[in-house]
């Protein structure tokens, strides 16, 4: 990340109307002076589309603020708490005076710091639900006992390592608390540039501007996913990006791609891309080539790291790249603001920047191909706060989806296509295993979502355990792969009415008749619960138009509507019976009892 000069950032942030953007509120607990860092945070927040609002606790008042409480600083709905505990300030015996410290001194200070950490973590969590980013302790550039330090468990390096390990465990035990490894930051900047002793001695500000830039970048690797602004897809150019040279001119064996220099640079770059694929990033191609030439490289070149089945979708043609990127986003059902476009060509990069400002463009010139792998690894745009099994398998899911599309094009009619998928659908009551995914779906699903009511895990758990409601989930599997948990229904019971509070399907399950099976099972469940009425609500949002007629199409009658027409209520009359479900599923398994014939 290259920041503009510090004074320009300040002028820029003053001129930009940041107060019109949504807020990103950060409170900093610290025992050192860090205020000069604020413009860097503000700048990255602005790039993310937020107004960074940074508040500092009193200098060296961490314990009082965390444990004693400070209602101004640590508010319940704060986005983020950053903790900086500079070890020199906490314990000279473990830092500048280490060589002269006795074992008892060391043991004593380690114990004191451990309980300090515990108290502060718990104290923060009592006051706020915000994300905690705790900056770990830094290793000394020159360990206290010289080269001997690394040979012994009583060395300074080992003592600080052990403290960090304790800190990591303490954070791990408390929800939404994260460890930031300062030693990575120091390593990237270089220790001699990371610290500025002049400001440390004059103002208790240990870090240089380079350090503050690097720390701000690292912090935003947490803050981007917190705000759902992490990128999800890389759209790649091919010639001079994935390999050196132009395949259409140089031919399959003429391009630079090998285990030796210079082709090895491109292999290393591909390896970084593949690493992101394994972390759940979707890969797409967006290049001006003859399509057959590109796939020939993917299939036949012995030194390709990426394979065709890593690529979820491709636009390889001679049209402009903005059009192609729009198609890629459309194919994958993601927003353009989730896409990173990588190209070696300055013209293409600038063209996309102009035409699609929401796309993040990385211009990686071929003259620096050896650096490109590191640049990609450094960008931090794809970081996530957790790495779930689903993230790891996402690439395969999109690949299966592409195969499904092909099958659909080949099938004579929709019915025979759906039959050919051999779908197995399950409808189950929610369990503690499925609650996180249920909450996630209520928060993420916009299109097939009748009411767009958002819930967190705690409120879903309350519904599941409460007894006045039931939560049904739908999972789907087909011959090409498991689609996982794709649908949710929340039924609230009030006297003899079952009210469909929430009914949603993930976009990957649309167009398969899943909703027809689900509504049938909802009706059956309501009936076996003893209800004589099922009520449904449609709340209009700017994304949910496709389900506007859902209830009417499934035999409900409209009974009322809000004055602006944005909220409509529907009732189902059991006297009409319950409709039969579609017949194209290979198997339907359900916790809901079938009706007696």
């Amino acid at each position: 990340m290259n920041f503009p000069p510090y004074s320009e950032i300040q002028a820029f942030l003053r001129a930009a109307r940041t107060e019109e953007l949504p807020g990103l509120t950060i409170s900093v607990l610290r025992n050192i002076v860090l205020e000069p860092m604020v413009p860097y945070l503000g700048y990255l927040a602005f790039q993310m589309g937020f107004n960074g609002q940074v508040r500092f606790g009193q200098y060296d008042n961490v314990y009082q603020e965390a444990v004693g409480g400070d209602g101004e600083l640590l508010t319940r709905d704060l986005d983020c708490v950053m903790v900086f505990l500079y070890l020199e300030q906490l314990s000279p015996k473990l830092t500048s005076q280490f060589a002269g410290s006795s074992e008892a001194d060391i043991r004593g200070d380690v114990e004191r710091i451990r309980s300090y950490i515990q108290d502060v973590v718990q104290g923060i969590r009592r006051q706020t639900d915000g994300l905690v980013i705790w900056h770990g302790f830094e290793m000394p550039l020159y360990p206290g006992l010289g080269v001997w330090d690394g040979q012994t468990e009583s060395g300074q390096s080992h003592v600080i390592d052990a403290l960090n390990e304790f800190l990591r465990d303490a954070l791990h035990a408390v929800p939404n608390c994260y460890y930031l490894d300062m030693n990575h930051c120091v390593a990237r900047v270089g220790g001699t540039h990371f610290y500025d002793a002049r400001h440390w001695y004059t103002a208790k500000a240990p870090y240089s501007r380079f350090a503050m830039q690097e720390m701000a970048c690292e912090e935003f690797k947490f803050l981007r996913p917190l705000k759902g602004k992490n990128k999800r897809c890389i759209a790649l150019d091919c010639d001079n990006t994935l390999w050196g040279g132009i395949v259409g001119e140089d031919g399959l064996l003429g391009i630079q791609l090998s285990k030796t220099y210079p082709g090895v640079s491109y292999r290393a770059f591909q390896q970084e891309i593949l690493n992101l694929y394994h972390r759940g990033v979707i890969l797409a191609l967006c290049s001006k080539n003859n399509e057959a030439d590109v796939w020939e490289v993917f299939e036949k070149h012995p030194d390709m790291v990426l394979r065709k089945d890593h690529i979820a979708t491709a636009q390889i043609n001679w049209q402009d790249k903005a059009t192609n990127l729009r198609r890629i986003a459309g194919d994958l059902n993601i927003g353009l603001d989730s896409v990173v476009f990588i190209d070696d060509d300055e013209f293409e990069a600038d063209f996309v920047r102009q035409a699609l400002p929401e796309v993040h463009v990385m211009h990686l010139p071929r003259t620096r191909a050896a650096d490109n792998g590191t640049i990609l690894a450094a960008c931090g745009l794809f970081d996530t706060l957790v790495l779930s099994a689903e993230d790891r398998e996402r690439g395969a899911m999109y690949q299966a989806e592409a195969t499904r599309k092909k099958l659909k094009e080949q099938a004579a009619d929709l019915e025979s296509y759906l039959r050919s998928l051999e779908m197995v659908l399950e409808i189950r009551f929610a369990t503690s295993f499925t609650i996180p995914r249920i909450a996630q779906l209520t928060q993420k699903t916009n299109q097939f979502n009748l009411t767009t009511r958002r819930y967190n895990e705690t409120s879903i758990r309350a519904l599941v355990e409460g007894g006045a409601a039931e939560v049904l989930v739908v999972t789907l599997d087909d011959k090409l792969g498991d689609l996982g948990l794709v649908g949710v229904c929340i039924l609230r019971y009030e006297q003899e009415t079952a009210d469909i509070d929430t009914l949603l399907l993930s976009c990957r399950a649309l167009g398969r008749g899943v909703e027809d099976v689900l509504i049938r099972h909802i009706l059956m469940q309501a009936k076996s619960h003893g209800c004589c009425m099922v009520a449904g609500t449609y709340i209009k949002t700017n994304k949910s138009a496709q389900v506007e007629s859902f209830y009417l199409m499934h035999g409900f009658n409209e009974v009322s509507a809000s004055r602006d027409g944005n909220e409509r209520r529907f009732h189902y009359d059991f006297r009409c019976g319950i409709p039969a479900g579609p017949g194209h599923f290979k198997e339907i398994r359900s916790d809901v009892e079938e009706l007696p014939r």
């Binding site: 000069p5 510090y6 004074s7 320009e8 300040q10 003053r14 002076v33 002049r198 400001h199 500000a205």
Partner: protein, 76 residues
């Protein structure tokens, strides 16, 4: 150089350029506190690609002094 220094001081302190002169100092400019002063030094080092010496850090307590110190570095 003078204009650039004035601009940097104005941007860091958040004070209009017209109000900055060689006589500006923490005493006359209300916004110029110790934290802003640190940001100012950081910013000057960045934009003029210099590193101030220990004594200079103490000397540079007015725009005039800043210009003097920078002059020395740039002539060097």
């Amino acid at each position: 150089m003078k204009d650039k220094v004035f601009q940097i001081v104005s941007r860091i302190m958040g004070v209009p350029m017209e109000q900055i002169s060689e006589h500006s100092s923490p005493d006359g400019v209300q916004e110029w506190d110790s934290l802003k002063h640190m940001s100012l030094l950081l910013s000057l080092e960045e934009e003029f690609d210099v590193r101030f010496e220990d004594d200079e850090l103490i000397e540079m307590m007015s725009v005039g002094k800043i210009l003097e110190v920078l002059q020395k570095h740039i002539v060097r």
